[in-house]
Amino acid sequence: MIGVAAEFLLFAERALRAQLGRFPPIDVLVRQTYQAGVGSVALLTMLIVFAGLNLSVQSYATFERFGGQDFLGMFAGIGGVRELYPVMAAVVCGARIGANLAASLANMKISEQVEALEVMSVDPMRRLVAPRLWAVTFALPLLCGYADVVGIASSYVGAVYQLGLDGGTFMSQLHEFVGLSDLAVGLFKGLVFGWIVALIACFHGYRAAKRDGAEGVGVATNRAIVHGAVVCIVLNLAMSWVLYG
């Protein structure tokens, strides 16, 4: 357990050095960002629509108990933009992007392609890991912003068309209480989550050894998803605590 954590820190240090050393070639970066970002849009849209609707419906049920249903706009806006949508984007994209990263790296590792790169004196950290880290770090804030828009729109639809609340009240609550700083916090969280999800996925992919065979790929994928999700949720608490506590 502690051994793995130490290994992870060493890996993070190498990866960060490779990431900051030289900017990866633009074409590789664009391709990776495209794969990570655009590939997740459909899944994310579906999830955020239901999450946004549900945020309205469920908080309505709670607020109604003490007659505060008019504050739904504020609650849906602040809760969504600051907390729910960044975490959802991170967990979902971790499940998709992170799993893909871990699987592809683990596949390269067990078919000894990484060693082949080293033999050709190409640094695999710089060649394989750095562009992926950059790509996900770019993609996730964009996805977070997209999730904010879709989520608030579906909260509005839920509040106005399903629960019959007043649309004007919802919008004025939103204007009054959700500011640019909340949006910035959400996007910043997305940035951090993107980097950490990619790092964890690359770490687990990179740890797969040839003797593990095909099962090693499965284990790496599974760990990338689970560890990514847990770390993002815990980190979200830490960041909220620092910012709002």
Partner: protein, 252 residues
């Protein structure tokens, strides 16, 4: 268009698979020992990630909710928001998502690996029905373990919310407990547990379905494990929303 037709076909196949599983689960013989073994494995594998994922959510609700309620001087009411949110929504949904990520993907990978290695066909040759021996225990185990884990995460979520509300947030302990016990009804608990049974069953079903459909080699196994996670998360959120609407309509 093709995408649409494919997904309709997928839903249909899943429904047929569900019927098949129910039919098999209701008839004899049952492999009780195998089911209990899988349950134990699931509990051991899931308890830490599920706990770690749900506990911070209570803290975040306290943190943000306190700020909002302070504006109106209602911070004594925080625990009723926290309690209902944790018991009804976040604990069941998040616990099930983590069960899908941890257990669902490993069940799909296991069944897929058995399929690739021809072990499923070998079972059929020995006249052991693979549905009965491999799939049904997994589904039942998921359906039983998810609510059990949910009980734990309910406690963890409320406890972490308490930490951030009372010692760190300055809410009165008595008021916190009073509003918690006054607002949380047994119905809230049962709603959460019922959702977990539903979600757990769908985790097991999707994992079994995608695992049994694996064709080819190791990559297909990985793909099945991965698809299990994403498809279950979509299904969980969809079902969650439908259930919330239905309960709101029923006035529960």
């Amino acid at each position: 268009m093709k995408w649409l037709l494919d997904s309709i076909a997928n839903v249909g196949a899943l429904a047929a698979f569900f019927g098949d599983v129910i039919g098999t689960a209701l008839t004899r013989p049952r492999y009780v020992g195998e089911t209990i073994r899988i349950m134990w494995v699931l509990v051991v594998r899931c308890i830490v990630p599920v706990g770690l994922a749900v506990a911070p959510v209570g803290a975040v609700i306290s943190l943000q909710g306190l700020e909002l309620f302070r504006m109106f001087g209602l911070d004594r009411l925080l625990s009723s928001l926290l309690g209902t949110a944790i018991f009804r929504e976040y604990s069941p949904a998040l616990a099930s998502v983590m069960v899908a990520a941890q257990a669902g993907s490993s069940i799909a990978a296991r069944i897929g690996t058995m399929r690739v290695r021809g072990q499923i066909d070998a079972l059929a040759v020995m006249s052991v029905d693979p549905m009965r021996y491999v799939v049904v225990p997994g589904v039942i185990a998921c359906a039983v373990v998810t609510p059990l884990l949910n009980v734990l995460t309910n406690v963890l979520g409320v406890a972490s919310g308490w930490v951030f509300a009372v010692p760190l947030g300055g809410v009165d302990h008595g008021a916190f407990i009073e509003h918690l016990t006054a607002q949380i009804t047994p119905a809230d608990l049962w709603v959460g547990l019922g959702k977990c049974v539903l979600f757990g069953t769908s985790v097991g079903l999707i994992a079994g379905h995608l695992g049994m459909r694996v064709k080819g080699g190791a990559e297909a196994v990985g793909q099945a494990a991965n698809d299990t996670v994403t498809q279950t998360i979509v299904l969980i959120l969809l079902v969650d929303y439908v259930v919330s609407m239905a309960l709101l309509g029923a006035g529960l």
